[in-house]
Symmetry: C2
Subunit: 463 residues, 2 copies
């Protein structure tokens, strides 16, 4: 079997070598188009400014769905449609405050933001605070010290990781699981240090979940600046108790949609190449990097094919997913439908790491697929894309994973992402036009090559 694949691979390599010159001209054309005439920056402006943030189930998320339909129509795709899903509906409400009284009796306010999915405090909740940096500390302190208190998770993201995504990944468990872990020890609420390497006053929200068997306690993020100050105040015993008031609540599920557009393949219309991002965002900021950028870049792939009169052999499908941020219902439902209908996907690419200078691709596929995509590497070198490593793709396309389908994530430079991520700073003005366009060019180029040469899975490569 291995020999069989190797043979396919070698045949493919000969395609590559013979086609390389034409391919490099085509990639140049794709980049030139995107760097001079692309709509994606204007589309992002419109999504951020005409719609704004768009949390699943909100009025603005519904407006974003309609907006997506309108720009797909404008892009003159062969078809576009709305895929109905049920989404959770969490609302922040008007009240968010965390404060303590200092020794003079003055109120010291903390910038906070409820975590998505958190229950409210039902009025003002008051309690002593205990700072925790890791799970073993939680265990060490135990019920005796934690019961009735507010747990303050203050593990900072590790700045020595070069990829800030790695630093995030090693820390986000506090935010996601902190409430239930603390509830197990009788805590009454949790505060979590924001997931960012920047030292500033912006709290960053994000998803959290509860363990069903445990009491649901309120959870909020505080800025890195406030986390530092709170930690110091605790050390110096500047206050005895802290007050929290969050009016957020979970409402019943509601209807929403994935928005899907296509250019039909001329030769293998039943083979689908998917490119996508997510339309929903958190309810603060404008969801510009997360993931307005991915949404407009994905549509730009199809727009570029149209404008350059490239007829794809396979069907190109742009999916603007709903509800990545707090439930991934869009991604899960999409995959469920694919399994039900037996639709054949040969490649899925997601852009959901911000609209920064692209550095390469993270490839979640078989060894053969990995080697296959790596053979394109030299075509991308003139565009300063060098990362072609095995790795995670994206939350939305993740549920499509079946051991055969090749999933890929665009990897942009990660240094600035968590400065903005899930905060009020994730706005259009913080996305750089050329960086966004370079990302769109990179994924269009990858889709172009995969469409042209196919991709090995359980079938022969058709060219």
């Amino acid at each position: 079997m291995m020999k069989y694949f190797l043979k396919i691979y070698l045949i493919f390599l000969s395609f590559i070598i013979s086609g390389q010159k034409n391919d490099s001209l085509r990639l140049k054309e794709i980049y030139n188009y995107n760097l001079t005439k692309s709509n994606c920056y204007e589309n992002l402006r419109s999504l951020c400014k005409d719609i704004g943030n768009r949390l699943s189930g909100s009025v603005s998320a519904q407006k974003a769905v309609e907006w997506a339909g309108i720009i797909m129509k404008k892009t003159n795709l062969d078809t576009f449609y709305f895929q109905k899903i049920m989404v959770p509906r969490w609302v922040r409400g008007d009240v968010e405050s965390v404060f303590w009284k200092n020794q003079n009796g003055d109120i010291e306010k903390i910038n906070c933001t409820a975590l998505g999915g958190s229950v409210g405090t039902n009025g003002t909740l008051e309690g002593q605070v205990i700072e925790i940096k890791n799970w073993s500390e939680l265990e060490k302190y135990g019920k005796k010290n934690i019961k009735g208190k507010i747990v303050f998770f203050n593990r900072a993201m590790n700045p020595t990781y070069i990829s800030t995504g790695m630093a995030y990944g090693s820390c986000v468990d506090q935010r996601h699981n902190g409430a239930s872990r603390a509830a197990e020890y009788g805590a009454i609420a949790v505060l979590v240090r924001s997931m960012t390497l920047k030292f500033d006053k912006n709290p960053h929200t994000g998803s959290m979940s509860y363990t069903d068997s445990l009491k649901k306690i309120p959870a909020a993020a505080i800025s890195t600046f406030d986390a530092h100050n709170l930690s110091e105040a605790l050390k110096n015993e500047e206050f005895s108790s802290l007050s929290m008031n969050l009016s957020c609540k979970q409402l019943s599920d509601t209807i929403s949609y994935n928005v899907i557009g296509e250019i039909r393949g001329t030769k293998f219309p039943k083979e689908i190449i998917l490119v996508g991002g997510h339309l929903d965002s958190w309810d603060i900021g404008e969801g510009a990097h997360d993931d307005g950028a991915g949404v407009v870049q994905s549509l730009q792939v199809l727009e570029t094919f149209k404008k350059l009169n490239i007829s794809p052999q396979r069907t190109l499908r742009c999916v603007m997913y709903m509800n990545e941020e707090n439930g991934n219902r869009g991604g899960k439902h999409y995959a469920k439908i694919v399994r039900k209908t037996g639709e054949k996907h040969i490649f899925a690419l997601e852009s959901d790491r911000g609209g920064f200078s692209p550095r390469g691709f993270s490839i979640d596929g078989t060894k053969l697929q990995l080697g296959y995509l790596q053979s394109f590497k030299s075509l991308f070198e003139p565009y300063q894309l060098h990362l072609f490593s095995k790795g995670y793709s994206g939350v939305d396309i993740g549920p499509l994973k079946d051991g055969k389908l090749c999933l890929v994530g665009l990897v942009p430079d990660s240094q600035r992402y968590f400065d903005y991520h899930h905060s009020k700073e994730d706005i259009f003005e913080n996305v750089h036009k050329r960086e966004l366009e370079l990302g769109a060019s990179a994924i269009t180029s990858m889709v172009y090559l995969v469409d042209k040469y196919g991709l090995p899975n359980n079938n022969l490569i058709k060219k």
Copy 2:
């Protein structure tokens, strides 16, 4: 002879392979230190905010020289000193205005900035405007159409270059030579479209020079936004003449200094490894990316050696050059002294392309030196540095070039550089802490390896 070098190279390669594990641990240590404890961001804040911009010959440039001495002292180097040079002294003065009267008689103002080195207008100068996009147009229009007019050079930077430095390089001749080229045809002044790919209202200054035999006419840059509007207004014949008033002038040369600090080599103290940037900046903005970043990163190399207790074999020298922006007197004088004293430099690295995420190095050396530095590539891959190509190093170290010495430029991501370059936006707030620190880590690592393994020139490699 070639075989001889090849042999050296192969010996070196065996060093590399045996030393690679230790080297990668050392590089990790260098990165960890810089990403957690580095002073370079705070040093940059101080240079930008306590001193501000610092054009050669100005009072603030003198303050910057003193500042550099103070931080070199604080860094506890083995020695530091001031190398006296004469620098040009150009002053902008209080008046800078460009405007026309529209058909209603209202004044339409244009944001402008005199080009460094330009003569003033000596009161208000008025003339018709002729738009020129390239030199052949200038020739085509000829004296007949140009004489007595203001030439408006409006060739935009080409957005299809991936490196914005390339786009700049292909356009900056307008700014640098435009005035004298236009004066040849009898023009009375020039306006130049700002050297940026960003469409905004900030004019960007920069150096220009006059041909001695031709009349010196005033020259100013206008923003890309205004260049667009001016071009439209010309097409629509919205005005007949344009007024310019610039009070800038050239004063006589004055004294300034390169600031030089060293850690003496333990084994080969007479072999110098130079790392540098330039202390001077244009007189608008704060010279944060250009080149505050390079200055603090260069000092950070020496500071990191000190703090990690690494004793270099060779002498590490940090040079903060004066007058890169308008004359390069610092770079030229430094090289002259080196030639006079016979001081032996084995490597020179400059950081002067902004404090952005580093992508690699641009290497101006022999084929052997290029291959030698490329053999370090795999050590830099974990830090996402991939560019190790032959190319230009930097203006300050350029005069050291002698066909033997290996010159290197740090190559950061270039997408945002010209948004800020030479404009009021080149301020501390637009430099990203981690990106700056990653650049410092990259050059420290390169200096570490070159110090450890030596570098082939006309001598044997000593290890």
